[in-house]
C-alpha cells in the first residue's frame, strides 16, 4: 500500500507493521468533499486488510484538524468496515480536547469486537 496524500492531508501507511494495516493521519483534513478523495483509498485499505487478514488501525493523534465532512467520512468507513467484517481500531489522543470530544462520542459505534476506540 502507498501513502494517501491530498491537499493538506496525509495518511501515512506504516509498512513496518505486520500485525495491522496502520494508517497515521497527518496535517489537516479540510477538503470540501473528503469522501470523493478518501473513498477510493478506503476500498484499497479494506481489500488489503481482507487479503492479509489484518485489522485496520487509524491513528489520529498527530492530526491537527478535521472538518465535519471528514467526520461523516469516518463514520461511513466504520460502517463499511463492519459490513465487510473487517476489524477496525481508531486511536486518538485524549489529552487534546477536540480529539477527546470527537472520538469519545464515537463510542456509540462500539457495539461489538469489530470496532474499537483506543485513547492514548
Amino acid at each position: 500500500m502507498d501513502n494517501f496524500v491530498a491537499g493538506d492531508l496525509t495518511l501515512a501507511f506504516n509498512a513496518a507493521r505486520t500485525d495491522a494495516i496502520e494508517l497515521t493521519w497527518l496535517g489537516r483534513s479540510n477538503d470540501r468533499n473528503p469522501d470523493k478523495l478518501l473513498n477510493p483509498y478506503w476500498q484499497i485499505t479494506l481489500a488489503e486488510a481482507a487479503q492479509r487478514t489484518l485489522p485496520i488501525e487509524l491513528h489520529f493523534q498527530k492530526l491537527q484538524h478535521f472538518n465535519s465532512s471528514t467526520i461523516t467520512v469516518i463514520i461511513q468507513f466504520i460502517q463499511e468496515a463492519r459490513r465487510r467484517a473487517a476489524r477496525l481500531v481508531v486511536v486518538y489522543d485524549q489529552a487534546i480536547k477536540w480529539q477527546k470530544l470527537s472520538f469519545d462520542a464515537m463510542r456509540v459505534f462500539v457495539t461489538d469486537e469489530l470496532f474499537q476506540l483506543r485513547s492514548v
Binding site: 493538506d8 470540501r32 484538524h65 465535519s68 467526520i71 461523516t72 480536547k97 477536540w98 462520542a105
Partner: protein, 169 residues
C-alpha cells in the same frame, strides 16, 4: 492609549473561496492563541469559525455580484461571539433545514446527546446532508446557536461561546 482588557473584535469581508475556510480557521486560531493561554479553547473558537464559514461558502447565494460573506468575532470577559453573514436565496430549502437543525438540537437535554444522535443518524442514512457542522459547534464548541434573516436576502448565523476567565501572566 488606554485599552479595555480582553475586549476584541474581528470584522472581515471574505471572498467565498473554499480555500479561505482553512485560511480563516488557522488565522483565528493563531489570533486567539496570542490572546489566551488555553489552546483547547482557541481550537474550539477556530473550529466553530470554520464550520460556520464552510456553511456560508456551501449554501450562500453566490449568483449575484457580491461574492463576499462577512465574518465577525467579538469577545469580552470570557465570552466569544462568532457571526457569519452571507447572501441567501429565501427560496433555498437549506434555510428551512438550518432552522430545523437548530430546533432539533434544542430538543435534546444536552448538546452531547444531540451530537451522538446525529452520528447515529449519519450512520443510518448515508449520503444525506446532515447538519453535523452545526451540531458540532453546539457540542464541541460549547456554543449556543441562532440564525436570523436580514432584509430577507441575507442570513446571519451566530454562535455564542462562554469560556475561561482571562489568562493572567
Amino acid at each position: 492609549m488606554s485599552m479595555k482588557p480582553f475586549q476584541f473584535s474581528i470584522d472581515l469581508p471574505v471572498l467565498n473561496h473554499w480555500r479561505n475556510v482553512d485560511l480563516l480557521l488557522t488565522s483565528v486560531q493563531s489570533c486567539f492563541v496570542a490572546i489566551f493561554s488555553d489552546v483547547d479553547g482557541c481550537n474550539a473558537i477556530a473550529m466553530v469559525t470554520g464550520e460556520l464559514v464552510e456553511n456560508a461558502v456551501k449554501y450562500g447565494y453566490w449568483s449575484g455580484d457580491d461574492k463576499h460573506f462577512r465574518l465577525r468575532i467579538n469577545g469580552r470577559h470570557g465570552s466569544v461571539v462568532v457571526q457569519v453573514e452571507n447572501p441567501v436565496d429565501p427560496a433555498n430549502p437549506q434555510l428551512h433545514k438550518l432552522e430545523a437543525t437548530l430546533r432539533w438540537i434544542d430538543e435534546f437535554p444536552s448538546a452531547e446527546a444531540a451530537y451522538r444522535a446525529k452520528l447515529l443518524e449519519i450512520a443510518s442514512q448515508p449520503g444525506m446532508s446532515s447538519g453535523l457542522g452545526l451540531v458540532r459547534c453546539a457540542y464541541e464548541g460549547s456554543s449556543t446557536l441562532r440564525a436570523e434573516l436580514i432584509e430577507a436576502n441575507a442570513l446571519r448565523v451566530v454562535a455564542e461561546m462562554t469560556f475561561w476567565p482571562p489568562a493572567r501572566s
